[in-house]
Symmetry: C2
Subunit: 970 residues, 2 copies
């Protein structure tokens, strides 16, 4: 007999056995699960404190040490609590026979601790198909007639991979703050109830609350927030600059001339006041479960001491602060300091104080930091920085990582909607784990809204690293598939689910290449390589897809789709579209093309759409997310939204006489055919795999103007040979030129004459094919004046080897991370924390290419903008062409710190790329190029090879991949 | 008894005695004068071949050698023909008693030659107040009741200062060509009748006809053009590349495979054909009065030989050509070659062939050039280039100058409307005369239309150099006054005449600073020094003035005013206005200012106005000038009009929340008051003579947004203290700040707080006055971080001295040319052809200025962009600060030729300025600076002194003059 849930069984009796000994928070969660069950079966299940009232299929939940019934079942041998006892956040989930006088089945959910039980309870909801966003986003589960578990079903959860896993509500104005105040009247327990539920359903356990105008421990009202968190087992932390369970806003609120805490956030001049402030915080909140922030920074995320203070002054201050705080924690929280979770953030200026320098020892190794979790931080843009060295990894307190999905700071803030791309989170956070960062993962999600998807991934990665971490390369796509299926499988068809998956991948990849706030008209090139047009086409397809999907949902299911997918997707895509159109508008207007005016209308439509999207997000589902879309997000000119500028609309005034201009698409070449100026353009058909190219004729006036195309070459055809433009209803015609190489004979060049009102422009078509000499597949042959290679398309690769049982085995080597990087994929060495010596043990990638002239060539590598993992600011790679010298390069400028004023770093995080060039000697003909891994963090995306001093035309993503010989030797 | 003309006398009998012996052309001119008289008195006067039919006041006109009556009067002792006999183009104009049987008075107009008589006849029209534009522009004379000449009135004209004086109709399509064809059916004698009349009435005698699709000697039809010219005494020339009385188009028309002239414009491969072509031209047209172009260039204004030809090849070719041509002229025109006026143009590539180089002797001094006028040329933009050295001036043929009021060529053509400024023509052409260029002056007037005013000046200068030339410095204003009075005195009041004068001065000065075709949005700075706003204000006043004047004229008199003044003035001003507004529009849009959208509307209005102006010019007076306005004139991007671009209109989209921004007018400083970014601006009140400054608040959105100004400083007042902008009807408020220094006490700095929606911006007012230490007048004191000096405001000047009769007399020295240069005036040394040695005999200007810190200062001179007058490409000046080293600088890059690819030259002619900087050492406190004249052509306009490396903000005209101590020591 199975464990069966259906409306009938639910009506038979109580479904949940509610032990009075259980944690109150566990009961509260159980009530939420009962609501989940009701939403699945349409019947509200009951719970009973009297065991006798249970239905034939009923659930017994409890926590070791707080559950007599579990002890009894254990004694009866029905469950084995030893499997979970003493473990962290583990639950057993097991079907047993109803014992004693009862018949039927019992589902036992036994937690090793409070959170273990809670995760176990939510595991039931999960099995029933209830989304973790059931409360936060109103995702409705699929209605079911019946749910069964095998009679011997048993599942024991693993301990989470990372000890503290949570998120940070940050920069809560105007979005989260408005939402809280509008819906709940403040940052109170009513609001946090939803936040805690979201956290726990996503298997997190740790939270940094809102902190810019909020005081978590006072806003409940009173201690209600803290008490609720503690009931739910939510471990509270506070941001990096808020020590001793006090929030920054609290001091602002309590300080004053006559305050017992004094009137200076200064441990030197107001030691007594500050110490008392901290002591009272610990007294008040120390009884709850916390990770206590230690250390001290300035108020509101600033440096602690003035510019006049020396390095040593700062370090000494921090030593004194830590000593005092440890004393206070011993006094007011627990004399067993080792048992009190504490955290020091190595953030901004604190990091150098930790490491010290040659003259001044840092805090590293200080006894005051024993057992303290050392929290590291990314560079605020999702790229890790200094990580624990092998030696440091033995620190007993372990390490934490503060990561960002949202950031208020330079070079450009991003706080509006989700712009996080899972492969990046995987690549970075799995490396963090590999480097020993396993005790605390916290991610800044800003206002939460629209960050739900990457947040789930972050917390799942932290919860089950075995399943999703380093070992699971290229699984982010599978994660996304499962996530979409889980949220929307109930509401729509399989095809729609696949399309939602495609939409999420599509928009997050685009946002990964450029965040909306940092997007502007000058990012993508308006014409080179048709870069803007190709992206616009992709955006157009994704937007169509999004709108088709939108129409699939009904009133009840739309809000979930809208908030989780449609709104962040359309928001991102629409801003990108607007800025791309603006780039094209500016380009067209500067050439007096009438097309500019049509483009200007489209830009305005995008701006209108942007506002409509936010309005709909604020209105949908009765204003469920009202306020969450308030962040500025267009045209940032500063690090924050101040002085942001909307796209400038450019209009071209029609010329006074009929004029047309012709351009070769994908290039900056243009001509009006005047005999005095440029009247020859070049079209490239030298790529053997290219059979079509195009040119476009544009109106320069709003007068009727005819054109005629004369192409007498039998091996070329044009899609049209004449036409008339009028600059208004018809402002441009694109003519496709097709080649039939079978008709070419000995000819390799031809001319297409384009007769325009101002003259004749001749398009010289160069169709000379390269000789291929039987070169093998993946050999790149220069037909464009440069070569562009996707890193994944190496000719050969060499792993590092080690000897095992007498045989050489690969110990490290490059692997492709699919979809990562700005174009195709990226190559990275695994394991991620190894150093190599180029030319000795270093893994390398070998590329083959053919150039026509010997000489110096520039090889430009496009790399993920990794920061060095050590404090010496080096990230090396090696490069060698043919048998030439092996060059070792540092991809970052030594001595440059990661600050807004470091232009190299700033460009890297905005562009999501770092470029590094070197010059190698090439032969005429076939060449080989080896790229060697040296430092951790080297992630190669693309290579551009061009004659020294002759770079290919500029663009944002770089030239698309050029011709290479495929498998069939073509 | 006076010589009286009134309706009664005119009806008494014939007014003109028409001798049959007279030149037919003289009679034709006399008929035009009769029409003039009719237009003055309302009565058509008659003429009679019978002496007896003359009225009591009648005119006897004739030419020595063609007038029995004059011989008779001479014999009678009534007139003294010896006063004019043998002279060139001279007339006597004398009232005598009617002799013999007649009573009354006779006005005798006796010409030394045909043109002398014609000028004499037109002198009568002139005395009667008839405009020289009576025919060309339909200017109506003032009606008169009676005209009297004293009984003993006598005037004998001077010989013209320059032998051949004329203009060149060039680049005749689309304007002049359309006009000719529309009104007369071709470039025929009907059309040229008007052109000749204009030339002669303006006292010219020489013409280069249209030549791009026209063949003057064929278009008459047949020889009618040539014959009419000869009748009128108009000496025909042809442009620099059209030798032997043949036009370039003729060869194009006659050449061919079977042509007797061959099919190659090549004296080496087709010597026979070319020689025959020339011979036939001389046979056909040699009988008329000509200046025969000799030499040879390529077809259509290009070089004669290909790139492979050596320098010597070219020179040898020219020698052969000249020898052949001289032979042909001897054979077909006159064996007395010395008597045949011939001209060789030293234009473009011909110039180096003339001078030769160290290896290869040039044509200079060649016997083939004996008695040939050597025609020099400006740089196409009104700046003379290489001039005859003292040694060269002895060349018997003399020199000519080809000058431009209109040009089709690089860097940017100017062919639309008049953009010539008289002081420049005076400065340049008087220097030409001083350097011995006195035999031929020809000016390119393009299509003639709108060039009438500077053309009159050019011809008057050539006709009467004594009156208007070098000796008459600063008389262009008087010339303009007289010209306006003569054309419009009849049609309007004295005040209007003065206003027309002001309008002409105003618009030509603006066009002198930048020609409309070369004007674009980036020329003037949109905000620095309020440069754009100040010019816009000036343009606004001039346009208002023009429109007031327009309303003064009636239907009959308007066309003359419209064509001569209103249309070129408004055309120029409107294009300038449009481009200035565009600069402001772009600046505003880039800052998201809503003002941009209002500016965009204004730009469109200007574009509309531009079209309306051309349409009115084409329609007025029954299409009298139809076609003359067809030249493109907006947004040239190339040397010709191809691919020209209209202003790009930029629109700002309103921000999503109320935002305002504040700017300090005249500077690039702006702020929204954000606490994170720029929120302090600086306002300068350090100039003792400045009592007011302003700032402006701009809307960034279309939402209502309030501002508040808090100024608690008693010595500062603001014109408003609060306001609300809405971005549409009210998008900007300018606040004037006034200072009352009497209330300042010890204070020198104050803050004005401007409360904006995004924060508070503080304007720091710096009102610290400099200490003046009793420095004398014209001492400049740095209060802006730099010093700007108008050259005229020197502290002292030193002339070169020579000893005359034992006493030192000034022999050369700087004089101010009023109104010349881009701002106030210009300083130039007279005589204009002297060389000096700085520190010895060189005249100099001494400036005094005070800076606060000792150190290196950059002294940037703004100079008229003169070209060197000698072939060695040097134009030196000297500079010395205090007792420092005297530095000698060449203002032009040696070795750079005047070609479009010489960016230095190109910038100079477009900007109408050349800048040259040097570094001098200054003391803290008072400094002196001497600027020494060295080479001819040095014309100083302005000096900017700034600490080395710290230039003042960029602008087109440069910083306006800074503070200096005035006469009253303030």
């Amino acid at each position: 007999m199975n464990f069966i849930i259906n409306p009938k069984t639910l009506k038979e009796g109580a479904f949940f056995y509610r032990e009075k000994e259980a944690y109150s928070g566990v009961h509260k969660i159980a009530d939420k699960v009962l609501k989940d069950i009701e939403s699945v079966f349409g019947v509200r299940p009951g719970s009973a404190e009297d065991y006798a009232e249970l239905a034939s299929s009923a659930v017994i939940y409890g926590t070791i040490g707080r559950s007599p019934v579990l002890e009894r079942l254990s004694e009866q041998g029905l469950v084995d609590l030893n499997e979970i006892r003493g473990k962290n956040e583990v639950y057993a989930f097991q079907v047993i026979d109803a014992a004693g006088e009862q018949t039927g089945k019992r589902l036992v959910i036994a937690g090793s601790d409070k959170r273990g039980t809670i995760y176990g309870l939510f595991h039931l909801s999960e099995l029933l198909g209830v989304s973790p966003y059931v409360d936060w986003n109103g995702i409705k589960p699929r209605k079911q007639e019946e749910f069964r578990l095998d009679a011997d079903y048993k599942h024991v959860s693993k301990e989470p991979s990372v000890r503290y896993r949570g998120f940070f509500i940050n920069d809560e104005w105007p979005a989260f703050g408005t939402w809280c105040h509008q819906r709940f009247g403040g940052f109170n327990a009513q609001a946090y109830d939803h936040v805690f539920e979201l956290l726990l359903r996503l298997k997190g356990n740790y939270l940094w609350p809102a902190m810019w105008s909020a005081r978590f421990h006072d806003d409940g009202p009173g201690l209600a927030n803290s008490e609720l968190a503690d009931e739910y087992g939510v471990v509270m932390g506070a941001s990096h600059h808020e020590p001793c369970l006090r929030q920054g806003e609290e001091y602002k609120y309590l300080r004053g001339k006559d305050s017992i805490y004094g009137d200076a956030w200064n441990f030197r001049t107001n030691e007594e006041g500050i110490t008392r402030f901290w002591a009272d915080g610990l007294k008040r909140s120390g009884k709850f479960e916390n990770v206590i922030t230690v250390g001290m920074r300035g108020e509101a995320d600033t440096a602690i001491m003035g510019k006049e203070a020396t390095f040593a002054d700062n370090i000494n201050l921090l030593r004194d602060v830590l000593r005092t705080q440890n004393r206070l924690i011993r006094e007011h929280v627990s004399p067993d300091l080792e048992q009190v979770p504490r955290m020091l953030a190595l953030y901004k200026e604190v990091e150098p104080f930790f490491y010290g320098d040659e003259q001044t020892p840092g805090l590293i190794g200080s006894e005051d930091l024993e057992n303290v979790i050392l929290m590291l931080c990314d560079d605020n843009f999702g790229n890790l920085r200094t990580l624990p060295t092998e030696e440091m990894r033995s620190h007993k307190g372990g390490y934490g990582m503060y990561y960002h999905f949202d950031y208020h700071g330079g070079p450009i803030s991003y706080e509006w909607v989700n712009s996080t791309y899972l492969p990046k989170v995987w690549e970075q956070m799995s490396m963090a784990y590999d480097f020993g960062v396993r005790d605390l993962w916290i991610v800044n999600v800003g206002d939460i809204g629209t960050q739900e998807f990457p947040l789930a991934y972050f917390l799942d990665l932290a919860y089950d690293f075995d399943r999703w971490g380093t070992g699971a390369i290229n699984q982010t796509d599978e994660y996304t598939r499962l996530w979409v299926e889980r949220q929307f499988g109930a509401a729509c068809e399989a095809q729609d689910v696949a399309n939602i998956h495609r939409l999420i991948n599509g928009y997050t990849k685009i946002a990964h290449n450029r965040k909306p706030e940092a997007m502007n008209a000058d990012v993508y090139h308006p014409v080179h390589y048709r870069e803007a047009d190709r992206l616009l086409a992709e955006i157009g397809q994704l937007m169509d897809l999004a709108n088709e999907l939108y129409a699939r949902f009904d009133e009840e299911t739309l809000p979930g789709f809208f908030s989780l997918v449609y709104y962040p997707a359309m928001g991102n895509l629409n801003v990108h579209r607007m800025q791309l159109l603006t780039g094209k508008n500016h380009y067209a207007a500067r050439l007096n093309r009438m097309e500019a005016n049509w483009l200007a209308e489209q830009i305005q439509a995008c701006m209108k759409r942007d506002r409509e999207l936010v309005e709909e997000y604020h209105a949908i589902d009765n204003g469920r997310w009202y306020g969450m879309g308030l962040s500025e997000h267009i045209g940032f000119t500063r690090w924050n939204e101040d002085e942001c500028k909307y796209p400038v609309l450019m209009h071209a005034m029609p010329a006074g006489k009929p004029r047309l201009s012709v351009s070769i698409d994908g290039t900056g070449q243009h001509s009006e055919g005047s005999g005095w100026h440029v009247n020859q353009l070049r079209m490239n058909f030298r790529q053997p795999d290219v059979t079509a190219a195009s040119f476009t004729i544009y109106s320069i006036s709003d007068l009727e103007a005819p054109y005629e195309i004369i192409c007498e070459t039998p091996w070329l055809t044009c899609s049209a040979y004449q036409g008339v433009l009028n600059g208004t209803s018809k402002a441009a015609d694109t003519i496709t030129v097709r080649i039939d190489r079978s008709l070419m004979g000995q000819e390799t060049e031809a001319g297409i004459a384009v007769k325009l009102p101002s003259g004749v422009c001749t398009i010289i078509v160069d169709a000379k094919l390269p000789e291929l000499h039987g070169w093998p597949a993946n050999t790149y042959v220069d037909v464009d004046g440069y070569i562009a290679i996707e890193a994944e398309h190496y000719f050969a690769k060499q792993d590092a080897m080690h000897t095992e049982a007498g045989a050489a085995q690969p110990s490290a080597g490059f692997q492709a991370i699919q979809g990562y990087g700005r174009t195709l994929s990226a190559m990275k060495v695994f394991p991620t924390n190894r150093y190599f010596t180029a030319g000795e043990d270093a893994p390398y990638l070998e590329y083959r290419f053919v150039v026509h002239e010997a000489g110096g060539y520039e090889v430009e590598l496009y790399m993920q903008p990794s920061n060095p993992v050590t404090a010496d600011n080096t990230l090396y790679y090696g490069i060698q062409a043919n048998d030439g010298q092996l060059q070792i390069w540092n991809t970052v400028s030594r001595g440059k710190k990661i600050t807004d004023s470091n232009a190299e770093w700033a460009a890297g995080v905005l562009d999501n790329i770092r470029r590094h060039s070197s010059i190698v000697d090439c032969r005429s003909g076939l060449n080989t190029l080896k790229i060697f891994a040296v430092s951790p963090g080297f992630v190669l995306e693309k290579l551009i090879i061009s004659p020294a001093g002759k770079k290919p035309p500029v663009s944002y993503l770089g030239p698309p991949e050029t011709y290479y010989i495929g498998e069939n030797n073509q």
